[in-house]
Amino acid sequence: MFGFHRKASHAQAAPESENIVEIRGLWYSRGSKRIFEDVDIDIRRGDVTAIMGPSGTGKTTLLRLITGQLVPDRGTIVVDGKDISRLSRRQLYELRKDMGMLFQNGALLTDLNVFENVAFPLREHTDLPERLIRHIVLIKLHAVGLRGAWSLMPAELSGGMARRVALARAMAMDPSMLIYDEPFGGLDPISMGVIVRLVRRMNDALGISSIVVSHDVDEISAVADRSYLISDGHVAGYGTPTELEQNRNDVVRQFMTGMADGPVPFHYPGPDYSEQLLTRAGR
């Protein structure tokens, strides 16, 4: 309800670029492990963009880089026209009020109930009267179908419910970008379907941009406008679900069809199998 004002003023300020996020020449390592080598990614405004890739390729790390929780070793990340590594802490926080992020496990505050969790950003950032906060919270909870669960504590929620509460909380400040880290992981088929539809509906109804990290190929194909496939520190493939389907690249084909072995090996690197069985030191 406040987002619309903000968006209107944006539009007047500067001609908006087509991309809400532009990553150029990104390099990032953790310790001695190189996670990204020269990665370019564009996230288009108004789209649902998927980031796919095997576990441990650095999808969560990428989200933390986009949101300024981590700083790239080299390269630039421009979010909504601003180079995030050059922002001061205050400017970064200002930018984050315009982003909502869902963590892999929801990350709800365990000592607050559902209502207070959703109200948390409003209480921290606004001086709205209690009545208005109540309205906003109930509207957001209604949108994710959990208005009736307002009084439960996070420990009493199922995985899918916790994620929906986290989604309501992420939307509390009417952000113009929503970021989801593996929203489908570990859910039963019904909850998964609910979240898939919510992702799409939020994006289109609110006119925002969404980034969804996932390795569920089928779900993501149903919801994403475009997908990036990241593997081994590089962008292995990019395109609409159909384009990726038809991609001839071996890594992309292995990932899309779920084959155990291929360019991404089944086996963790190690010495020769028979040799290791025969030597005592190989244990």
Binding site: K97, A107, L109, T110, F120, P121
Partner: protein, 257 residues
Amino acid sequence: MKDLLSDAWFTAREFLQTFGASQLFLLRLLMLTPRALLRPGLIVQQVYATGAMSLVIIMVSGLFVGMVLGLQGVDTLSRFGSEEAVGTFAGLSLIKELGPVVTALLFAGRAGTALASEIGLMRATDQLSGMEMMAVDPIKRIVVPRFIGGVISMPLLASVFTAVGLFGAYCVAVIVMGVDKGEFWSQMQPNVDLVRDVLNGTLKSFVFGVAASMLAVFEGYNAIPTAEGVGRATTRTVVITSIVVLVLDFMITAFTL
């Protein structure tokens, strides 16, 4: 050789980074403290959580320490024929040493571990990152109120410990061992100095409170975000706080005597 050098360089850099990060954390903690006083509600909650919740253990321990002081005091002082001095003996021991030190050690075990594991768990379950993503500074919202709550609680707990301890000493010395009631209190009055003894003890409990609370929130905030990491942070809190408190106690005593 080259490997060794690059290894050493890597370790040194890691160390400097960690060291720098902890300096930065403490600096931000102290910088944000004055402004946090503007939200007293959050602090009152923490004084309750750290202070009120530690009251039982503090009072029980204080009572027993005081009673032992009564027994030992009468036994030792009667060898010099001056068992009426037991009041002064127990009072000075409690006010200057045992009150602040034992309270700080108990505080580390009860409140410090609770703080470290609570904040560590918030780190492990991404609650702190979640807050940062909601543009809320977790140091300001979570860490600082807990730090201030601990700093306020410690001197209060130490004075409770001392008062209950004196009561325990009184019970044993006067009621059980038959020391004169009037002598017990009247000897204490001229012999306990407000500045040299009482203020000195209060200063100690304040310094210990700052050290214990800071170590607890630091360990929790920087815990490795796994179940094991949180456990280790909790253990480290108790071990490091105990050592720091005992060393600080010696230093303060040496400089103020």
